[in-house]
Symmetry: D2
Subunit: 341 residues, 4 copies
């Protein structure tokens, strides 16, 4: 392994998932080694163990689930860093073996989440179709060609189903016939994935960044959450996501997972992080990375890097005479004798 | 239908799910009509249509998923009300046909979430076991006895698997052999379910209540979330859950789903709701209902019902002389002539 | 005393003070009975005793002092209500007996505050002039004409001084020669006075009003002041004045005197007052009255009377089904049996 | 001038005022050069001009007035620094020439504020006494002995009065007969004075300090004041005084004068000052100095110097890998090719 070209990635497999599609959006990933993993935890552990450089996993509701699992998996254990996020359009196709026709479909396999989203279409267009649960949309497609490989994870062997609801990517890759496209209830659905690497990485600031944090609630009382959120609001930092999550240790104990607009190298984010650390020292920094939507936050003058720099300079000027005076400056002739008390 | 005994309930099926276990914790539900539904949405629609009185659905991460789906399903569409919550211990058993032994198990079916949680145990105790995805833990168990019924939803027909990871409830009900108990990674796991009814219901105040709200973010700017949360903090109301959810209409548009400690008939909650309505008039009230853990919040003097009552009385006394004066009271002899300006 | 025309007023005397000038700005006061008082406390006591209908006193820094005294005098004792405020331009003249010339002036009397403000002019134009302190600018003028009357309060008898620094009003009224005008350091100085009546009065809302409150600090800790001010900020209410005042009982015990933009009949002010009463029940309402500058605050939609009204209506609609249900409504068929626990 | 003994001080004179009494409480001031000034502004100007090292002036309501004048005088003009504060008990005596008796007193001179506070006693004990205004309580005493000196400032010459209400200090110094003691309405009255020096001085931190600031209101809108005060509250800093003051430039334009508990060398105060500078860059630091009452604030763990230090160290550790990575660290093998966009 001797250069950038030799980067390697894990992802939530099997091949052909929307997660692999997200990974393929990463520049250079098309020619890199790509290793499917059966769970989010396994993908992240591969990063921790050093067997891959980074892992692509889902972070928002998607047909591949994994959201809560992902949040929880990166919140504990050895530290990791989020390196980038990818948005992937979620469109479902009905795929079958070459030669099949819509009229002949009776048994459809897919992941439960995809089934829920496409059921309206199925009920209308293939009344009476049977549902075969699959561990992923991609696995349902692989089973059709009789070769799940290591990546499928399912054990159906010779599939009992004759169609799969899956991504366009896997249908094309396997040479399946696409009988219908865009069959989900929600058109224009987009889901979000993150690329996770080791904790010595920090993507450079682009001006359109996002910072992800895990913040344990220091005390379970009214106002404790406000005190946390005020660290952002007081520095003009917007949050694009917040979720309370039980720590799992006992009821009533929470942590918060948040995405804040900005990069830790922005003065307002750095200052907010220091404020958060003071009230919740168990804070975990999960990374600053470019926003997939390239939107830049409006930064008010008083939270700009310039305002922070000017404040630092001003405070130094306030303290400077004191420093001189402590060294026996001749500027002030006044010496007040110590009070006898 | 003339009494309590005739209540009817939908739940996320099939029979034997942890959701049915939650429903069976409701007093009287054991003898009521119980209707399994294939999705959370279907269960809620049965309530809206009036074909059942209420529906039990999962609201926190569970092996039966449904969390985001539940949050979103009750946030839109015809109004519903949460009537109560139930906590259910989540423990998995490995179940097989009577006579089977652990040594003979090769193919295990279950829901993907349960598989993820029990995989450590399986790898250690049944190395090389194959995984068969099922649409639910209960469906995996039903398939073993060759009679999925209407409730299974899966189409495996004659199951290719020889064991299921499922709830103790369904194993016992089907007379399966329990080969191992408590095989999940997390012991003491508890998940939360809610009973949802029609919007004309409001459970009485018990002193240990929870209020669930859906609050659209009025503007996507720093401070807008703080303004919402301040409505709670300013009245000493603690939040036990908060989640931002994209509205799905376009990126950057959010609503918040929160659980607040207290009942809408508590003055501090009623006042907070009015404050929220002013800043986010699209607010949706999803109910006030008893907390499953029976914990009561500590209420400070200045947010007690008494403090609210005293403030109302004081303000009335401030305004009263004015009312009298406007009616031509003789208390004040002072009449200031109108300014010429 | 048989009608409005017979209103009577006290004011901080003697005759010819800026305070009397403020009183004369009140419609109808020119023809009313006007009673000079020697101190702010005496003027207010005349209102409390019923011997006059209202009293005009200074409330902002002025050459007639009285600010702290006024704040403290209306903060304790029998309740009073502020009825209106007046802004008066403060301009000083150098007045002397008819026939006097600037060149002949050697000894100048005035109140200490006026002396401080006019000293620059005096040093430049009448070098070497001596200063005679007087109890008020008006008293200094009266002494020139040899008839201090009851209203002067000073005992100089035949004055040793030959000029007075005083208001244009008193110079004109006494027929004095005005040797120089506008001799103060600050041109365009304006000071503020308030008309104080009995607590059964509440001037009607004009849309451009001010509300004055005295708010004891409930606890001397960081955040207690914020909690008070948040009652205003959370309702979009601007403060045009705030002063902490020691209660005088022991060090570290404070009350706040504030002016808020708006009238107690504005919903946002009424709601803020109720919030204040909950956290500081010793709150004192000192009146809502028209602003002298006629400026109207910008009211955001969510703090308008309409928003408050809509929130009240919405909350009632949330609670109504419950009220019906408690009365045995047939809308809901669901009756959950009481838990055995 | 080569040592402490050579310090020199101005104070609001004449000799014998409560302000001189405050100055004499300063260690070493008894043997220092003490220069009475006729106004607060003149005393401060002597510091600015370098003719004295520091000036003692009143800062809280007192019989010597000067409060607003002092606040305003240190808020503008060349910078100054407050070096310490002194609390002085305010007790009045009735003093006359040796040999005089209470029965023979007819004409009493004093400052208007002292007259207001002692009038109840005078009305009861010397009915019919006449009042002679004086420019200060000390001047009234000096006039009795026929030698006002330069310091008196008044021009009465041979006094028409036969008693003075003044401080015990001046009565004793002039050898006057004290006919009655403690004749004010308020017993245990204490007033506060400040010692003001040049801006190169900063008294060392004692653990029981006070910081005085002048903060222009950046915008006249609801919430602007909250934003300022939140800089203190968010760092657990208590305020012991707050006053809004019109800037005098036009109505509706304010600055705030505040005293905060703590020293600028306390991390929480330094951080609050930087926050204030960002939102109100015209902020003026008037000094950190020991509290006269020696009370120390309770500092919460999360606002301690230790918490600030730990937060700085943590943030540095978060940023360090990035710094290394930017220098071409070999820790991370991952190099993502630049996006074509």
């Amino acid at each position: 392994m001797t250069g950038a070209a030799s980067s390697s990635y894990a992802y939530l497999g099997p091949e052909g998932t929307f997660t692999e599609a997200a990974l393929l959006q990463v520049p250079g990933a098309g020619s890199a080694r790509r290793v499917p993993a059966s769970t989010v935890g396994a993908a992240l552990d591969a990063v921790r163990a050093g067997s891959v450089d980074a892992a692509m996993v889902p972070i928002e509701n998607s047909v591949e689930g994994g959201v809560s699992a992902t949040l929880d998996a990166i919140a504990v254990g050895d530290p990791l860093r989020i390196l980038r996020e990818e948005l992937v359009p979620i469109t479902f196709v009905l795929a079958a073996r070459p030669g099949a026709t819509l009229g002949g479909i009776r048994r459809i396999a897919t992941h439960g989440h995809a089934w829920a989203q496409c059921r309206t279409w199925v009920d209308k267009n293939i009344p009476g179709a049977e549902y075969f649960p699959a561990s992923s949309t991609a696995a349902a497609a692989y089973d059709l060609v009789g070769d799940p490989g290591e990546s499928s994870g399912d054990a159906h062997g010779a599939a009992g189903h004759d169609a799969a609801i899956c991504s366009p990517l896997v249908a094309e890759r396997l040479g399946l016939a696409v009988l219908a496209t865009d069959i989900g209830d929600v058109t224009d659905a987009v889901t979000r994935f993150i690329l996770v690497g080791r904790p010595d990485a920090l993507p450079p600031r682009t001006g359109s960044d996002k910072t992800t944090l895990v913040i344990p609630l220091p005390e379970d009382r009214p106002g404790a959450l406000m005190q946390i959120l005020d660290q952002f609001a007081a520095r003009g930092v917007n949050l694009s996501r917040i979720e309370s999550r039980p720590t799992g240790q006992f009821l009533g104990d929470y942590f918060f997972s948040v995405d804040a607009d900005g990069h830790v190298e922005d003065a307002r984010i750095a200052d907010a992080l220091k404020g958060l650390h003071r009230i919740s020292p168990g804070l975990r920094f999960l990374g600053s990375y470019p926003r997939a939507d390239r939107r830049s936050p409006a930064v008010e003058r008083h939270t700009s890097d310039e305002a922070f720099g000017a404040a630092d300079a001003w405070l130094a000027s306030v303290l400077r005479p004191a420093a001189d005076a402590h060294r026996g400056s001749k500027h002030s002739r006044l010496t007040i004798e110590a009070s006898p008390t």
